[in-house]
Amino acid sequence: MRPWQVIYIIGTIAGLLVGASTSPYTGVAFIWAFIIGAEALHYWLKERRAGRRLEAEPKP
């Protein structure tokens, strides 16, 4: 299993616990916020890595 799969599983199970202790709708909102946040973070990290690689390349 890849790291992103493990992170998403933790996020969705945390959403279930949030839903059980508050309301199911809050649980759904938590899962949405978690996954969208994780995707945004992944995108930002990927872009930053690509930018650094570009900077490291020798300039003509």
């Binding site: 799969q5 199911p24 759904v28 899962i31």
Partner: protein, 337 residues
């Protein structure tokens, strides 16, 4: 009800939900991945979001059909599953076992069929052995069974028609890149819609028995059961969905963004139509029908007949095997253990 039994019910319910995620995820995201629109990771993330939402907002309709309408006590004053929770656990495990076998072989079987078959097997066991009376409503089963035949055929016709309707207009478009972008957006939207429908339809079918028990010791509201089923489904999609995704997205026919789009929309229209009547149709059957219909536009040789016939055989086997497993496991639980 003892806390051990309650834990067993929840574990079995989660197992069924996990199975749905591992097998049925392909119904919503197989075309998106096969058509090269989204990566596996992004497609699964989208599926989790919409399936959980659908399960909480609208999962209740199908839950009550599976959990309370197929098997009832004479007079309908109580539900046999709430009287015999051990049989309820056996039913959930039986429904899940067959789907696990199919997922490991990469076959997109119907979890709705498996669940309905298992509930029927349990109903037959209760009515045959007692200790309480139960009626199995074969008229309801006939209605559900008819939808299993109509759903794939309807989805195939819908996808074929959509393709035929729109392809002449699309041939006139010169800007291919824009067209590709529009269809990528469309197939993603259709996939999200299918994931939502999966939440309302498949989670409802798998958690029907939990719903039947919810008035007793479990004490959960319908939305909470939906969230439980949705999270179980998400876990299955995240851990074990790749094999069936590969069969659906790449094994039946070669998909491009346009065929992926028409197959997905055709399947979504079919499942949505049945859901309005609270009938638990199979999203697996609808999407396989949709993909076959979209592939047939390019000619019969574009569709893998061998793969389709194998899938068809597993569909016929599913309710029968689940019913036998449920009957045997239930018998083992009540009479032997």
């Amino acid at each position: 009800m003892t806390s051990l039994l309650l834990a067993a019910i929840l574990t079995a319910g989660f197992y069924v939900g996990w199975n749905i995620g591992s097998n049925d995820a392909a119904n919503a995201i197989g075309t998106t991945i096969g058509g090269g629109v989204l990566s596996y990771r992004r497609a699964v993330a989208m599926l989790v979001l919409f399936a959980v939402l659908g399960a909480v907002l609208q999962g209740g309709k199908v839950m009550s059909t599976v959990g309370e309408d197929i098997v009832t006590a004479p007079g309908g004053e109580h539900n046999p599953f709430s009287e015999l929770p051990a049989i309820a656990v056996a039913t959930l495990i039986a429904a899940g076992l067959w789907v696990t076998v199919a997922s490991s072989l990469g076959f997109p079987v119907s979890t709705s069929q498996s669940m309905v078959g298992a509930v029927m097997g349990a109903g037959l066991l209760i009515s045959a052995l007692g200790p309480i009376d139960a009626d199995v409503h074969f008229d309801k089963l006939l209605h559900i069974g008819l939808s299993w035949v109509i759903a794939p055929v309807g989805a195939a016709i819908a996808a074929f028609t959509l393709y035929r309707l729109f392809s002449p207009a699309l041939r006139r478009v010169r800007n291919i890149t824009t067209l590709h972008r529009i269809f990528s957006a469309l197939v993603t939207a259709a996939s999200a819609s299918s994931a939502y429908t999966m939440g309302t339809n498949d989670v409802g079918a798998s958690t029907g028995i939990l719903h039947a028990l919810s008035n007793g010791a479990l004490g959960w509201e319908t939305q909470m059961i939906g969230l439980f089923g949705g999270v179980a489904l998400a876990t299955g999609a995240l851990t074990y969905s790749w094999k069936v995704v590969r069969t659906v997205g790449m094994g039946i026919t070669r998909l491009d963004v346009f065929t992926a789009c028409t197959a997905q929309i055709g399947a979504a229209i079919t499942v949505w139509s049945f859901n309005q009547f609270g009938i638990p149709v199979s999203t697996s059957q609808a999407i396989v029908g949709g993909i076959a219909g979209a592939g047939l536009v390019k000619g019969i040789s574009a569709v893998s007949g061998r793969r389709l016939s194998r899938i068809g055989i597993t569909w016929i086997l599913t309710p029968a095997v689940a019913a036998c497993l449920s009957f045997s496991l239930g018998f083992l639980v009540t009479e032997v253990l």
